[in-house]
């Protein structure tokens, strides 16, 4: 369960201050996967960084499983936009990075194998395709066995085939592992495909302008249905009306 109440984030101080998020409130139920969309630069990533405990809110409250977020939590994992792989670490070292930083001894080998990366453990990121790099980024988050998964545009800048592949993968993992998920994206089809509810944010400073219920979500086949197309069209209309 994630509860965000009146979240405000202001970067900088005094005259140079820039409000990124202004009085944003949202709730995500346990085991729910929601997507967050909004105009580019509206503060979507800022919201995720606050949920992860990387950024302190200027005002408002953020609670995960009933506890106030005061720093990076062990049960929350963040998948970064470009996977955030360190070029000097091998695939295995990258996948186990978060574990090791938290002083945990577990291996990421099984997660890597599940994501089709067996045999690549000793390769460096520069030897991988973009799609594989994203999967290593996902493996790093999964290795933590998190209860909450935060995803910052996990398929940005991928070709459409690889993008759908990663989207299907994330959907499958959500079914299998049962995490509470927040997916930030600027891809409307992705938002509809992966969000049980879709939170539409305003232009900066971000606040929630509409929440779209999306009960049909949950199956890979959803993508081909008229309902899916209608939801995408609706979302496009909302974002268009919102000045995106």
């Amino acid at each position: 369960m994630i509860e965000v109440d009146g979240l405000t984030v202001v970067y900088g101080r005094g005259e140079a201050s820039v409000p990124a998020v202004a009085g944003l409130s949202m709730d995500v139920d346990t085991y729910e996967l929601v997507s967050v969309v909004g105009p580019s630069g509206c503060g979507k990533s800022t919201l995720l960084f606050v949920l992860d405990g990387l950024l302190k809110p200027t005002a408002g409250r953020v609670r995960v499983h009933g506890e106030e977020v005061r720093g990076v939590r062990r049960d929350v994992a963040l998948i970064l936009q470009d996977a955030g792989l360190l070029p000097w670490k091998t695939v295995r070292q990258n996948a186990e990075l978060a574990l090791r930083l938290q002083g945990r001894k577990e291996s990421a080998d099984k997660v890597l194998a599940d994501l089709g990366l067996a045999g690549f453990e000793k390769r460096f990121p520069s030897e991988l395709s973009e799609g594989m790099k994203r999967r290593v980024g996902i493996a790093r988050a999964l290795a933590l066995q998190p209860r909450v998964m935060l995803m910052d545009e996990p398929t940005a800048n991928l070709d459409s085939i690889t993008r759908e592949h990663i989207q299907n993968l994330l959907l499958g993992l959500w079914w299998e592992m049962g995490f509470t998920g927040v997916l930030v994206t600027h891809d409307m089809e992705e938002a509809v495909f992966l969000g049980k509810r879709i939170f539409v944010l305003s232009a900066r400073p971000a606040r929630v302008v509409e929440v779209i219920e999306n009960p049909g979500m949950g199956e890979p086949g959803y993508r081909g249905t008229p309902e899916f197309a209608a939801q995408v069209a609706h979302l496009r209309g909302v974002l268009g009306g919102n000045g995106a």
Partner: protein, 261 residues
């Protein structure tokens, strides 16, 4: 393996070219001036063999001196440079100071260095360390300033402490640039070593470093020149060692895109 052999071949080729050029210049000078000005490679080689004991001792002493100086310069300069480059606050306060001290040649301060460190081994090391130290600091600072922010976010998002950020991101990200800078400064370091050994070693014997060896045999051109060759080989040795170190420590830099799905 093939790559290493090819590299070794190019080094041998370069040595052959240098010997060829040396021989040509030596011959030319002798022909024009009517007497030996620059001893030929052959004569120098014979002189080196005749004095091999002293020369080896001088080479060993200089190599050890340079190795210690390089290690100390790294141990002191690397943490300082990385911290100044990575922490904006330190950058603001310390960068002007570094840029002010950086161009100052330690040789110009010899008198004060004598007074501070005496006439022993320490002062010779200090001069070389001072020269290399600023090279390392400036290189590390420059590299740490341009670390990719998402690499830092990646470790901070997993709850990394400040120390872990340095260990997992700052140090490995900057190591290639720092090692390159170290390689570039080998030339300067050898020059400083020569100065330290000649200016600060007048009372020592010819085996107390290549600088002293060259100075001691000033009036025996062939032997002296053997010392100069030793100095060049010393530079080459450290250059190669640093390159090998980069290949081992920064292996990721040397792998190409192999693709995949």
């Amino acid at each position: 393996m093939r790559r290493t052999l090819r590299q070794a071949f190019y080094y041998l080729l370069a040595i052959a070219v240098v010997i060829g050029l040396w021989w040509g210049v030596s011959w030319l000078l002798e022909t024009v001036r009517g007497r030996e000005i620059l001893p030929s490679p052959g004569v120098t080689f014979v002189a080196a063999v005749e004095n091999i004991g002293t020369l080896a001792s001088a080479f060993g002493t200089s190599a050890l001196r340079f190795l210690i100086s390089l290690a100390v310069a790294f141990l002191l300069g690397l943490p300082l440079g990385l911290a100044v480059g990575f922490e904006p606050k330190l950058d603001r306060y310390l960068s002007p100071l570094i840029y002010l001290l950086y161009p100052m040649p330690p040789v110009a301060l010899l008198l004060f260095l004598y007074l501070a460190f005496g006439l022993g081994e320490v002062v010779r090391l200090v001069v070389v360390v001072m020269a290399l130290f600023f090279q390392v600091v400036v290189a590390a600072q420059g590299a740490a300033k341009y670390i990719v922010p998402s690499h830092v976010t990646a470790v901070r998002a997993a709850g990394a402490t400040r120390g872990q950020v340095y260990r997992h991101v700052v140090l490995p990200a900057t190591l290639p640039s720092v090692l390159t800078a170290a390689r570039v400064s080998v030339g300067l370091g050898i020059t400083m070593l020569y100065i330290a050994e000649t200016k600060l070693g007048v009372l020592l014997g010819p085996g107390a470093g290549l600088g002293r060896f060259i100075e001691y045999y000033t009036f025996r051109g062939d032997i002296s020149l053997a010392g100069v060759v030793g100095l060049a080989l010393l530079g080459l040795l450290f250059y190669v060692v640093l390159e090998l170190l980069e290949r081992v420590l920064c292996r990721w830099k040397f792998v190409g895109a192999r693709g995949g799905t």
